[in-house]
């Protein structure tokens, strides 16, 4: 068993996000809205030695099976991440994260005087205008934000 597998125990059911850019696991959890409040086990390992990257973070979320539209939210933070859906200790689905052109309902616009932050029945929508460094434009107020502004 390699060193990285020793760092975090195997899980029976849930989602393992591997090859997360080193030091970004907490931001990944924040973007996914994983707070630990629901009582399920969440394990993170940061700066684990890795073959692919020289270091990586790993996030394991038990009893939750994240859909692609959820995990794609982290493409901006860690495009290298791979998502493994685990059932009964087996990887039943493996996928990369894919940054969409448009993020609908993922992030709120950080501009407090944007109409998308009022009580109107609308879904916030941000368009990716640049990938590295990531910049997004709000559909409504048209302001451009850096990733840090969104998390």
């Amino acid at each position: 068993m390699s060193e990285e597998h020793l760092a975090v125990r195997r899980i029976r059911e849930g989602t393992v996000i591997d090859h997360v850019a080193p030091g970004t696991a907490l931001r990944v959890l924040s973007a996914l809205g994983v707070t630990g409040q629901d009582g399920h086990i969440v394990t993170i390992a940061m700066n684990v030695p890795s073959d692919k990257l020289s270091k990586k973070d790993i996030v394991k979320i038990e009893n939750r099976f994240l859909r692609a539209d959820e995990t794609n939210k982290i493409a901006l933070i860690s495009p290298s991440a791979t998502v493994n859906i685990i059932r009964n200790f087996k990887v039943v689905e493996k996928r990369n994260v894919d940054l969409p052109e448009v993020l609908e309902g993922v992030f709120h616009c950080p501009n407090p005087t944007c109409i998308s932050n009022s009580s109107e029945p609308l879904t916030p929508l941000l368009t990716v205008v640049s990938r590295s460094p990531p910049k997004l434009r709000c559909k409504y107020c048209t302001r451009v934000f850096k990733l840090e502004d969104l998390l």
Binding site: I115, L122, C138, Y140, C141
Partner: protein
């Protein structure tokens, strides 16, 4: 050329090309030469819904006067005190209600993106009458029309935009609009009120810009001073406001250092940034703007409502 404004929303001036704007200005010229009965048939039987959720007498009067001048009528919702904390009907439902009565809506709102959202909700065309510190496209249209009427051209004119460039929505619309006409633009503001970063990057390569803090230093070079009010209501912090108000004041002493044909514009209302002594000089063109404004808005409404004029 077919009418590029017919049945269209006017949310940002960026959605319109140079030839679109020229088409609008040509129509504005044309409308003034029409026989009164022909002119008042342009919006005959049509209704403009005026929805103003932020204090403004000037822009509202201008739209109403424009609509009446082409034979149309207006109904209004004026709720200047509405804020996000006061629970009322949401904008969505209000727009839906108003659009069932009218042919066209003009909306002013304190939040950025409000007009874009209203246009998404409404099937009838929506004109942005000012959305937070985002844009005020019809003001920019009339500003550009004013310069063109007074000077004949904008190409290579030296234009200074002065004051609150961070929160002043007219500035954004004006810059995006001017970018079509190849002027030389001087941005003059206190460091804390500089143009927002995204606008600078949006405008990069599209317009010749430089940033300044001292107006006196460049005044002798200028063809146009576009003065803006430092708006108290946009400041999150009143200490900041007190620090920067009164930074720039146009008076006859300053203008004496400028060219004889230097033109002073202002979207109005002004507070103390242009001294009344300037009003009677040939430099003062801000009241002319008001007249051009009604004409441009009448042309715009006519073009939205009629495929052909």
């Amino acid at each position: 050329m077919t009418n590029p404004f017919f049945n269209r929303d006017v949310i940002s001036i960026r959605e319109f090309s140079k030839s679109d704007l020229e088409y609008l200005f040509k129509t504005a010229d044309q409308i003034q030469t029409l026989q009164p009965n022909r002119r008042s048939s342009l919006a005959d039987g049509r209704l403009l819904g005026v929805m103003f959720f932020e204090p403004s007498t000037r822009t509202r009067l201008s739209f109403e006067a424009a609509m009446l001048s082409i034979g149309g009528q207006t109904i209004s919702i004026i709720e200047p005190k509405t804020s996000s904390t006061e629970k009322g009907e949401n904008l969505h439902d209000t727009v839906k209600t108003v659009e069932s009565y009218v042919d066209l809506i003009v909306l002013r709102h304190r939040m950025e993106g409000a007009a874009r959202y209203a246009a998404q909700v409404a099937e009838k065309p929506v004109i942005n009458g000012g959305s937070g510190s985002e844009e005020h496209p019809t003001q920019a249209m009339l500003d550009i029309y004013t310069i063109l009427k007074e000077r004949g051209t904008i190409s290579d004119l030296k234009i200074a935009l002065v004051g609150d460039l961070k929160y002043g929505r007219t500035v954004y619309s004006l810059l995006y609009g001017l970018a079509n006409f190849n002027p030389r633009v001087f941005l003059v503001s206190p460091p804390e009120l500089r143009l927002r970063e995204e606008a600078l990057s949006d405008l990069e390569g599209k317009i010749n810009l430089s940033q300044h803090t001292d107006l006196e230093e460049i005044v002798s070079d200028l063809d146009v001073i576009y003065m803006t009010r430092i708006q108290k209501e946009r400041f999150p912090d009143l200490v900041e406001y007190e620090k920067v108000r009164g930074t720039y004041v146009i008076d006859n002493q300053l203008l004496s250092k400028g060219r004889e044909d230097l033109m002073v514009l202002h979207p109005l209302p002004r507070t103390t940034e242009i001294k009344p002594e300037v009003d009677s000089t040939p430099h003062a063109k801000y009241f002319n703007q008001t007249i051009y404004g009604k004409t441009v808005r009448a042309a715009l409404i006519s073009l939205i409502l009629n495929k052909e004029i």
